[in-house]
């Protein structure tokens, strides 16, 4: 009752204030409106002329806005993405472009933060040359851009965007994520771990202190508890993103003596952690699981037997990848150009571009060979099923992607100087996803040990 009273009073004050504002700007506005109208007329003709270009005619170039981190700590993950996009676009253009139209990309550095990213998105979207966006890496930026994509009606492919919150409302028309998300990605690790180490009792988690780290810990813990209720989480550490030093955390892990250490640290953080933890015996005293371990295989000497994976199916050396000549060619070209084999963020980006290319093809054939509009392009992505470099990407009704999950352990081979992934399993994408619209954590808590038993076993993927 009181609240209502107060709000009425506030609203009254407000309207009088608002009146003041409008009085204040009413005058200049009405004046400049007149001046402006003429001026605008001229400009508007130009604007309209460009916006209403008949979308059915093939443009001279297909512009893409590609969002990734090219500076700051996250560039360790973002630059492989940019490199892959560079290479992929060169390959596409060498073959005449997408459906005969050459691709030209504009890169946007996500390190500018949400405001800069949004400004750039709007600017790029305002230019009709840019038909689609590949955005973005960071979950925070994806969440910030998604409403914008719907509003500006620009097909937007989330090339990374791990957060399971992105498409949770199921209403997206223009935002697609041809990718796994945190839910299947981290359930996969729980299942693999329990298959490989069924007697595990105590687990310690060390994840970066931001949404991705907390989400992953929540999902991984929930899955472990559902599949093996007597598991105890003995330590949960969340070092700040970009911390150079993990010595105290390592001492803490050493005193807790867990059977398993799980981590989704990445980039320089992961390299630092491995480098500091390995000599201090963490890898021998505990079964270490590094969810993004594949990204550092070529950079730090990981010991044997560490559980690693690629958050999806994007491993350039997986049996499927090796069987695909396109992938082998891509990996070698990448190595030749950038000095390293493509880590999974690079593959994710390459797959996102393949997904986009396939959508154009589908849209054109549906359109009797005419160049599609943005809306038609988005329509073509709906429910699409695309063969990527490393497997198949199925788009669900809620625009979320179904991709397989590959997990394995590090092994040494004679083929490479660095450790590779062995004893692999490949879980089917749909088997680890809740139904569209279902609360992920609620769904995870319903999982039963029988469910895990029904899935393929470690070593089954070769």
């Amino acid at each position: 009752m009181t609240f209502k009273g107060i709000s009425t009073v506030v609203a009254r004050c407000l309207s009088s204030l608002e009146l003041l504002f409008s009085l204040d700007r009413g005058l200049p506005q009405s004046r400049f409106r007149l001046v402006v109208d003429g001026l605008v007329g001229a400009v508007a003709i130009g604007v309209v002329a460009t916006t209403s270009v008949a979308a059915q005619e093939k443009p001279s170039a297909l512009g893409l806005g590609i969002f990734t981190f090219t500076s700051g700590p996250a560039a360790a993950y973002g630059m492989p993405g940019k490199n892959a996009a560079d290479l992929m676009i060169d390959e596409i253009n060498a073959k005449g472009g997408i459906e005969g139209v050459p691709v030209s990309a504009t890169y946007v550095d996500e390190a500018q933060g949400a405001q800069g990213v949004i400004a750039e998105y709007r600017r790029l979207a305002g230019d009709t040359k840019n038909q689609a966006m590949v955005a973005a890496l960071s979950s925070a930026n994806c969440l910030a851009l998604a409403p914008l994509a719907e509003q500006l009606e620009v097909p937007t492919v989330g090339w990374n965007c791990d957060t399971h919150q992105l498409l949770i409302d199921g209403k997206s028309k223009y935002v697609f994520r041809p990718n796994g998300n945190t839910v299947p990605e981290f359930i996969a690790y729980a299942i693999y771990l329990l298959d490989r180490k069924p007697d595990v009792k105590t687990v310690a988690i060390i994840n970066p202190d931001y949404a991705f780290g907390h989400d992953a810990a929540k999902i991984f813990t929930a899955a472990l508890k559902a599949l093996k209720p007597d598991i105890e989480i003995v330590a949960e550490l969340y070092p700040k993103l970009g911390s150079p030093n993990y010595q105290t955390e390592i001492s803490r892990l050493a005193t807790a003596r867990p059977d398993v250490v799980f981590s989704n640290l990445w980039g320089a953080d992961l390299e630092n952690f491995v480098r500091q933890a390995a000599p201090r015996g963490i890898f021998t005293s505990s079964q270490v699981t590094l969810a993004l371990g594949e990204t550092v295989l070529q950079r730090v000497p990981l010991p044997d037997g560490v559980i690693v994976g690629v958050l999806g199916d994007g491993w350039w050396m997986s049996p499927d990848a090796k069987a695909n000549p396109e992938t082998v060619k891509f990996a070698e070209a990448y190595k030749a150009r950038f000095g390293e084999y493509p880590v999974f963020p690079a593959i994710k980006m390459a797959n996102a571009l393949i997904y986009l290319k396939a959508a154009y093809k589908a849209a054109m054939s549906k359109n009797d060979g005419k160049w599609p509009t943005r809306a038609e392009l988005a329509e073509a992505m709906k429910g699409s099923k695309v063969a990527t470099l490393t497997g198949t990407m199925q788009t669900r009704a809620d625009n979320d992607g179904l991709v397989d999950q590959i997990v394995g352990v590090t092994v040494k081979t004679s083929a490479q100087q660095f450790p590779v992934i062995g004893d692999m399993v490949r879980y089917k994408g749909d088997s680890l996803m809740p139904q569209a619209g279902q609360d992920p954590l609620a769904w995870i808590s319903t999982l039963k040990p029988e469910f895990a038993r029904s899935l393929p076993k470690p070593g089954s993927y070769k």
């Binding site: 560039a75 973002g78 969340y238 150079p244 010595q247 001492s251 050493a254 320089a268 000599p279």
Partner: protein, 299 residues
């Protein structure tokens, strides 16, 4: 928890040593030049990049790996010799006698420039060389394996504190610096070349920053963003100890180190807040820091 007492103490000391190296140069420069160098964190990471590059060079030429210890020191000297005079003469000198806003902004501008330059030169991937750490091996203390390198760092920090104190109290340069700190105009009027003192003091600060970065590289790689994080941490430590107080910085490093370690052991979710919370708590009770004195208010 009782079995964790020894690791807890050792971790606090090790963590304090790293924090101290990040902060001591900042506080030294402030005590002499009265300039808060916001680019201090960038010089720290540049020291790390240079040290790692030299160590990598040593490794690639298969030279004696023990040379890399000398390389850590040498790289700090190198960075100080290049950047110290350059920044002091080129930029900082120009801000003497100007308001703090100008000093902070000029060094903030420098910080922005240096951060981007590092990215352009060294790329975005983590940069490291861990030969010095591997050479020293490990020890098991209180049931936990520690790197001997961590223990060496604790010793180094003690050496730096004592060394700086000796330098200031017992050398000619130290006395000149003290004279300039106490009364700049008087020092000038009795013929002390204050310009030279400023260059030396600033370069010493750069040396300490670069040394901090260099000593950190064997265990932690240098990556973009480190400069900004180091800066706030150094800032917090310098403020807690009292700006310009060397022993203050040492004690403050212990406090922040202990706060962080306690947070990680007892309440991991508070880890990131710990240094700032400690800073706020100290500054609210003693606004000029634990060892600082009330002189800054304008009359």
């Amino acid at each position: 928890m009782s079995n964790a007492i020894i690791p807890l103490l050792l971790d606090s000391l090790a963590s304090a040593a790293l924090i101290f190296f990040a902060a001591v140069g900042l506080t030294l420069v402030f005590s002499v030049l009265r300039v808060l160098n916001v680019a201090h964190g960038s010089l720290y990471s540049i020291g790390g990049y240079v040290a790692a590059s030299i160590c990598l060079f040593i490794a690639s030429r298969q030279l004696n790996p023990y040379l890399s210890f000398a390389a850590l020191l040498f790289s700090a000297v190198l960075v100080a010799a290049i950047f110290g005079p350059l920044i002091e003469r080129g930029l900082v000198r120009w801000t003497y006698g100007k308001s703090e806003a100008v000093q902070i902004l000029v060094t903030f501008g420098l910080f922005l420039i240096l951060e981007d330059l590092q990215r352009v030169i060294f790329g975005v991937q983590s940069f490291y060389e861990d030969a010095p750490m591997r050479l020293l091996g490990t020890s098991s203390i209180g049931g936990v394996v520690y790197l001997n390198y961590q223990i060496v760092l604790i010793g180094m920090a003690v050496v730096v504190v004592i060394g700086l104190r000796l330098l200031i109290n017992h050398t000619r340069l130290g006395r000149l610096i003290t004279a300039v700190v106490t009364d700049r105009e008087m020092a000038q009027s009795i013929g002390i070349d204050t310009n030279r003192i400023f260059i030396l003091a600033f370069s010493l600060g750069v040396f300490l920053a670069a040394l901090g970065g260099a000593l950190a590289t064997p265990t932690s790689g240098i990556a973009p963003g480190l400069g900004a994080d180091t800066m706030v941490l150094a800032f917090a430590v310098a403020a807690i100890g009292g700006l310009g107080q060397i022993e203050g910085a040492a004690v403050a490093s212990l406090i922040v180190g202990l706060a962080r370690v306690l947070a990680i052991y007892l309440a991991p979710s508070l880890d990131a807040v710990a240094p700032y919370a400690a800073m706020l708590a100290v500054l609210l009770i003693r606004p000029y820091g634990l060892f600082g004195s009330v002189t800054a208010r304008r009359i």
